[in-house]
């Protein structure tokens, strides 16, 4: 009897310990693959271009979130257009975009930014994620964004935004700065 009770206790304990260790060892679904050909986990030093346009894009996104049309207007060229996949293939013009709400989302969290300069034109690409509302469920929508900025006497103006919703990609569990 005594040996039976002890055996049962050990068995139960072993099962409980095994269950806990097994759940903790389960890899996250989206853990990056260290041996991937590109995009291995690494901490990058952003280029000057990424530094510069990160701030510009961030300021633009914040102005949009605050519905500050004056602030937004400072970043946008008079002929600014947003191109997104739709039935007609038409772009959304500056005034409509400034007046819009959630129909024309502006991603706030930016990752994977790259900047290429062609004289007075900068091509800025990034993956953007809209802000997650408190209490919302599900994955926030992500967009692949390519922005064309032109330099003039006043600085940089956004002339065209090309934006498409994408299937969610796993963003780094630990943010990697401006990566």
């Amino acid at each position: 009897m005594k040996h039976g009770c002890i055996f049962c206790l050990i068995l139960v304990t072993s099962c409980m310990l095994f269950a806990q260790s097994d759940s903790s060892a389960k890899p996250t679904e989206s853990a990056p693959k260290p041996d991937a050909l590109q995009g291995s986990p690494k901490i990058t030093t952003a280029t000057r271009g990424v530094q510069q346009f990160w701030e510009l894009e961030r300021n633009l996104a914040e102005a949009f979130e605050k519905k500050d049309k004056n602030a937004m207007g400072k970043f946008l060229n008079d002929d600014f257009k947003v191109w997104m996949p739709n039935q007609t293939g038409s772009a959304v013009g500056r005034e409509d975009w400034l007046a819009s709400g959630h129909e024309n989302p502006t991603p706030l969290r930016m990752v994977q930014m790259a900047v290429q300069f062609y004289q007075d034109v900068a091509v800025v690409k990034f993956v953007g994620q809209v802000k997650v509302e408190a209490g919302s469920k599900g994955s926030p929508q992500q967009y692949f964004v390519v922005d064309l900025w032109e330099k003039n006497d006043q600085g940089w103006e956004l002339t065209n935004r090309y934006m498409a919703a994408i299937n969610p990609i796993q963003l780094p569990a630990k943010p990697n700065g401006k990566q």
Binding site: K2, A36, T47, L108
Partner: protein
């Protein structure tokens, strides 16, 4: 059947011990999970840039305080590199017998820089970082180099293989206390985003059974506007040949972070920015090369900027986040 009192007491104590062990095991597993990282914020605030052009009074380093927090950068449980010195190994990749800044002169300038950086007031900023067993020493040394003569572009995978081959071939030692820096000539691209996304990066991997810390720094003459603060630096051999000085600045960044966050789980802030990220391309107060400076002739002619002087040379190096006194970008401790 009714058990005797003694047996009941024995079983009760045994049962209690089993539950206690199970509970403690569960707590250990939970601590391990929490060390993996902070929660991801919904949006990233990148406005934290420190104080450019601020001259800071010298502040004594921490004494016996391995982990000091509350200075704008957070500790996440991982190790720092505490070697005294930390060994820096250089892998010169590409064609370093070429023209422009792809020359033996650049190799000499860079290796002299690494040889004299250890224990400088700048490097001592790193001593404000530590882990649970001690602090970074602030000392590093140039411990060896090898050359890989090739025209093949780099990828992340090829970079890792390059480091692995250097170790497995015996060209460089297998050193857990080392940082291996792959320095590519300007005709070489790193196709995962050099010049468009980044100027360099650092990471780590298990190679030959050792946790090897390594970094990539490309010759920024490949993209001067993206990765150089000035096209003619204080050590430039000619006007517009700023690769050596540009590399030195980026190498500073990568070495600081390889030492304070070698396994990507030690020191970084809520935005994921490590100590050098927080001061990227932030140089603080600078001086100008003049006829009385130790700058090169080209540097003097171009009035190149510098903010550090040691080992008989002037350099323009980004500031680093000082983990003390509230935290700030600093040129020295």
């Amino acid at each position: 059947m009714k058990l005797p009192q003694g047996k009941i007491r024995f079983l009760s104590v045994l049962f209690f011990l089993v539950l206690a062990v199970n509970f403690m095991a569960g707590q250990a597993i939970k601590r391990g999970n929490n060390a993996a990282g902070d929660p991801v914020p919904d949006d990233i605030n990148h406005t934290h840039k420190g104080n450019p052009n601020q001259t800071l009074p010298a502040i004594a380093g921490p004494v016996g305080q391995a982990v000091v927090t509350g200075n704008g950068i957070n500790y996440h449980g991982g190790p720092v590199m505490k070697g005294n010195p930390v060994n820096i190994y250089l892998i010169w990749y590409g064609n370093w017998s070429g023209t422009g800044s792809n020359t033996a002169a650049t190799v000499s300038t860079v290796e002299h820089f690494v040889s004299t950086l250890g224990n400088t007031p700048y490097e001592k900023i790193n001593t404000t970082y530590g882990d649970t067993t001690g602090n970074v020493s602030g000392n590093l040394t140039f411990a060896g180099h090898t050359f890989v003569n090739t025209t093949t572009n780099l990828t992340d995978a090829r970079l890792k293989t390059t480091v692995s081959n250097a170790i497995s071939s015996g060209a460089l030692p297998n050193d857990a206390n080392g940082v291996y820096m792959v320095l590519s000539s300007s005709n070489i691209n790193e196709t995962s985003g050099f010049c468009t996304q980044y100027c360099g990066f650092h990471t780590h991997a298990t190679l030959s059974g050792t946790d090897i810390k390594y970094a990539f720094v490309g010759n920024p003459d490949r993209c001067q506007s993206g990765c150089e603060a000035q096209t003619t630096g204080p050590n430039s051999p000619a006007a517009g040949v700023g690769g050596a000085d540009g590399m030195i600045n980026i190498m500073t960044h990568e070495s600081e972070e390889s030492i304070t966050d070698p396994d990507l789980n030690a020191w970084f802030d809520a935005n994921g920015e490590e100590d050098a990220d927080k001061c990227n391309f932030n140089f603080g107060a600078t001086s100008t090369c003049t006829s009385t400076s130790v700058c090169s002739a080209a540097g003097k002619s171009a009035a190149a900027k510098f903010n550090q002087s040691f080992g008989g040379n002037d350099y323009l190096m980004q500031q680093e986040w000082r983990n003390s006194g509230g935290g700030a970008c600093a040129q020295h401790l």
